[in-house]
């Protein structure tokens, strides 16, 4: 490859020829690095020699009684001529010693960003010469590869780029150690197709387009590394759990890091010019003493060096700036959940104001946040507080260089209920009468509850909505936060762990949103890793933390758990007698969920159980709750017969007007226990409007409660029960019809009570059969076993004869109430007698009771 000369066309982009100048790449014939080292050494030597020369000349001239420097422009001696030539040597030494990236390669260098702009704006571009966009490091690498490592190109390339810290960080981000990376490289050494001729052209052109599409400043070592990961190493990396998602995240991270570095440079240049006083540069503004006392000046913070930029919120920021700059006054309300990034958005606005990337009208303004809580705390009485608010608004309007931020305006309105209307009036008046620019923030809940009632106020605001970012955006934000946290906790985190954090943070903390809850989970994991003396936060650690939080196992299925899952039917049948169809349906759903095959936009599973009373519908629900969520207490039971009126809907989902049903029975319960089973008892009795609510729950896995909050049902199992057509089921079964035939004939009955689209939303509609005598006997035996357990806790042994269960079953079986009567029979025949003996002191700890028949209770 060292013989390659001239310009070769490698391809086209938008009909623009893409070429590579081999002569340029090959000009140093593999000695680029060595030459550079030599030049630097020579430069140091020359500078040292020059200084020595100047010192010697000065000393000699002083010894001769004259100071040579005073007559340096009068060149009457060879020494003086030499002095000037040595100056030239010094200049030349600078040329040799300075980083080539800054100058020598710059002669050939073109800005990639300029090319991107020209191509994007369809300007005429004659050609793309790849070598013009390669940075110093890449040129060094390619020179070496082309000339010295032709037969071992890929492994050597992997070794070369490992020299760069940025690449080392990227390897760590992928969750790999340097040793693992080196192991991958060694594997490659043994493979064919590692010759330079096979890879060099794809490398040059593809690395260029990686830099081009990501808008890097140049084709640098990271473009090469990304190319390596995306092309030659892609399959090998999969063996190390580095897949497409991790590589996309890596690309995003590199892109954001480069973008931020570029922005930081502009910021450093411009922030030093920004005044940090409260006055503007033209002194047209006036002092605002009250506001200074109760405020936080975002622009001053930025000018002092606090650089915070929100990632992927360009659209909201543009909307905000557009809204603020309108006319002489403006009012903008940012509505978003806590933790969605409202304050960061405001800080980003402050950065833009400082670097003057805003319309001219905002360039010499300050972004000041009114701290009304401080004002309230320091006010001796409510009148004083009102007057402070008034003064602040008046000062903000009068000073003319302030964009006033009222963070959590709903809290200001709600600070004291009796003055809410007056505070609203003050703000409304300020917005209406004064020429003032205000940016307020609120949560959707706060807006609905406290602001939306005041139409005079809401009509003045332009709303900017900040929704919870999508996982991939949240991931970028987490990546942005990561270096800060890593240096704080001295623990590293890989991209796949971050992906897991973004994903799993949805499974708990439903009151919070991304990125906030992701950052919290990340911090918690880092603290745990630090205390356990781990260097890495692993996916497993994240799964452990989340599992502990939600009480449900998350992550890879362990062998003992797998056994339980595969034998779920057996587990359920320990409590459920008969009802094989229902048990199988439920077990299958749980297995699907645990294997991660269920939709993440719907509940884990939903069932409609119908059949006679007392046949085990609720018992199945309880058993599933116990098995999947860890305890029966995790079941939310809703008696749907209480929701026969449409007006009762607000009892379920909450009432924006507050009062008795502010929270909503169902929505509050699910918010508190997002991992729970919801049992909707006697569903057929509910009002159709109430059932419409569940249409959305079953379909989308979420609803909005009365306060405007999104309530997620994606981690719930929903079981609706109905007793409709019980008699018909019994009759049809008596006619010896099969299970399927009966279900088919009974379904039209159910459709009379529940709309077809509602029934169809359930994953399975399961018919429960009436119990036969044998099944009731088995249930009786189970119930008696539970009596044994209860007494065993009191250290009393209870033994039943073989016929007792049959006796109980005979007494307790009722075709109408199923096995429901069993409990009463056991109470009357067993529990009552034992209770009497216990109270009378006839039996105590260590006693043995033998019951051979219900009439015969014997104490041993």
């Amino acid at each position: 490859m060292r013989d390659l000369r001239g310009i070769e066309k490698l391809g086209e982009y938008k009909k623009i020829p893409v070429t590579v100048d081999w002569s340029y790449l090959n000009q140093e014939v593999g000695f680029r690095k060595e030459e550079e080292k030599f030049e630097r050494a020579l430069a140091r030597f020359l500078i040292l020699g020059s200084i020595t020369f100047y010192i010697v000349v000065t000393i000699f001239s002083l010894l001769n009684g004259q100071f040579i420097w005073l007559t340096i422009f009068w060149i009457d001696s060879f020494v003086k001529l030499l002095i000037w030539f040595v100056l030239m040597i010094i200049l030349y030494s600078f040329y040799l010693s300075r980083n080539r990236n800054i100058f020598l390669d710059r002669i050939h260098y073109r800005k990639l960003i300029d090319l991107i702009k020209r191509v994007e704006s369809d300007e005429t571009v004659k050609g793309i010469e790849l070598t013009s966009y390669f940075d110093h490091n890449v040129l060094n690498i390619i020179d070496e590869m082309l000339n010295d490592y032709q037969d071992n190109f890929l492994p050597q390339l992997m070794t070369e780029i490992l020299e760069y810290q940025f690449v080392r960080n990227a390897i760590q981000r992928l969750g790999l150690t340097v040793a693992e990376y080196e192991a991958i490289r060694d594997k490659f050494s043994k493979l064919e197709n590692i010759h330079v001729s096979f890879w060099i052209r794809p490398l040059l052109i593809e690395a260029f387009f990686i830099a081009f599409t990501n808008k890097f400043d140049y084709v640098g070592e990271m473009s090469i590394f990304l190319w390596l990961c995306k092309k030659p190493l892609i399959k090998t990396l999969q063996e190390y759990n580095v897949g497409k998602n991790e590589l996309e995240s890596l690309e995003m991270w590199v892109s954001n890091t480069i973008r931020k570095k570029r922005y930081l440079t502009t910021f450093m240049e411009k922030s030093s010019l920004k005044p940090v006083s409260t006055l503007n540069r033209a002194y047209t503004s006036r002092f605002s003493p009250t506001l200074v006392k109760y405020s936080r000046d975002f622009t001053a913070e930025v000018a002092r060096g606090d650089f915070t930029m929100s990632i992927a919120r360009d659209l909201e920021l543009a909307k905000l700036i557009e809204s603020i700059q309108k006319g002489e006054s403006s009012a903008t309300l940012i509505i978003g959940e806590h933790g969605v990034g409202k304050t960061t958005l405001l800080k980003s606005l402050a950065v833009k104001m400082v670097v003057e990337e805003v319309p001219p009208i905002l360039q010499d303004m300050r972004l000041v946040s009114f701290d009304f809580n401080r004002a309230y705390a320091l006010s001796p009485n409510i009148e004083k507080f009102k007057s402070t608010v008034e003064n602040v608004l008046e000062e903000a309007a009068g000073t003319k260089n302030i964009v006033l931020v009222i963070d959590d305006i709903d809290d200001l309105v709600d600070i004291r209920k009796e003055i809410a209307a007056e505070v609203v009036n003050l703000v409304t008046k300020a917005l209406d009468v004064y020429k003032i620019r205000v940016v307020a923030t609120s949560t959707p809940e706060g807006f609905t509850k406290y602001i939306s009632n005041y139409k005079s106020l809401t009509s003045l605001f332009s709303n900017v909505y900040m929704n919870e970012p999508a996982d991939n955006i949240a991931l970028q934000i987490l990546m942005d936060e990561l270096p800060k946290l890593e240096s704080k906790f001295h623990v590293s985190v890989s991209f796949d762990t971050l992906v897991q954090i973004a994903k799993l943070s949805h499974t708990f903390e439903f009151d919070r949103v991304l990125p906030d809850k992701g950052i919290l989970l990340l911090e918690e994991a880092m603290v745990k890793a630090q205390t356990e003396k781990l260097n890495f936060v692993t996916e497993k650690l994240i799964e452990e933390i989340v599992s502990a939080k939600v009480g449900v196992k998350i992550g890879a299925i362990k062998s003992n758990e797998a056994e339980v899952l595969l034998n779920l039917e057996k587990e359920l049948h320990k409590r459920i007698i008969g009802q094989d169809v229902a048990v199988t349906a439920v077990a299958s759903a749980l297995r699907r969920s645990r294997a991660g095959l269920t939709s993440d936009k719907r509940p884990i599973a939903s069932f409609l159980f119908f059949g006679p009373t007392g046949v085990g519908k609720t018992e199945v629900a309880k058993a599933v709750t116990d098995l999947y969520y860890g305890a029966e207490a995790e079941m939310i039971r809703v008696d749907m017969s209480e929701y026969q009126e449409e007006a009762n809907l607000k009892r379920l989902i909450g009432d924006p007007q507050g009062g008795e049903f502010e929270g909503g029975y169902l929505t509050d319960a699910v918010r508190r226990k997002p991992y729970s089973l919801i049992l909707l008892d006697e569903i057929e009795k509910a009002n159709p409007k109430v059932l419409d609510l569940f249409l959305q729950v079953l379909d989308e896995g979420r609803i909005t409660d009365g306060m405007g909050r999104k309530i997620s049902f994606i981690n719930t199992i929903i079981i609706a029960t109905s007793n409709v057509a019980s008699q018909k089921i019994a009759d049809l079964l008596e006619q010896q019809k099969t299970y399927e035939q009966v279900q088919e004939e009974v379904l039209p009955e159910i459709r009379k009570y529940l709309r077809v689209e509602f029934i169809n939303r359930f994953d399975r509609v399961v018919m429960f059969k009436p119990l036969n005598q044998e099944e009731v006997t088995a249930i009786a035996a189970l119930s008696l076993k539970s009596e044994e357990k209860k007494l065993a806790e009191k250290n009393i042994e209870l033994h039943f004869g073989l016929l007792v269960a049959e006796e109980v079953a005979k007494l307790g079986y009722n075709p109408v109430y199923g096995a429901r009567e069993l409990r009463r029979v056991i109470q009357d025949t067993v529990q009552d007698k034992i209770a009497e003996l216990l109270i009378a002191g006839k039996i105590k700890g260590g006693s043995i009771i033998q019951i051979n028949s219900l009439a015969e209770l014997e104490e041993k």
Binding site: L81, Y92, Y95, K400
Partner: protein, 115 residues
């Protein structure tokens, strides 16, 4: 040979008068602009007839104008004073690699400026 001579001789001049020249020039302009922003001349000039501190009274306006004018004048003088050394630095930068050539001519008495 051509490559080496280009690299060790011609490129030096390209570097000094193109690449490094741009960096130095931008640096000098940066210093000048920084001073301009520090002396606050432009905002004062564009608001020459505006009152100070929102004092919109007649007296406020009357007082503001001479203050702003003096500010602009003093600032401009400072700016001008700064411009001289910056220009000199720029000229010195441009001349520096040529000085040994001048020294040789002076030594050989071909070009005599200081004798």
């Amino acid at each position: 040979m051509f490559h080496l001579s280009k690299r060790y001789f011609i490129n030096f001049w390209i570097w000094w008068y193109v690449v490094e020249h741009k960096i130095v020039l931008l640096k000098l302009i940066g210093v000048w602009m920084h001073a301009l922003a520090t002396f606050n001349v432009i905002p004062m000039l564009t608001n020459l007839f505006q009152p100070l501190f929102q004092d919109n009274t007649r007296m406020g306006r009357i007082i503001a104008f001479p203050i702003r004018l003096i500010w602009v004048l003093v600032g401009s003088i400072f700016q001008l004073i700064l411009t001289i050394p910056l220009t000199m630095l720029y000229v010195i930068y441009l001349m520096l690699p040529l000085v040994p050539i001048w020294a040789l001519l002076e030594y050989l008495e071909i070009l005599v400026l200081f004798r």
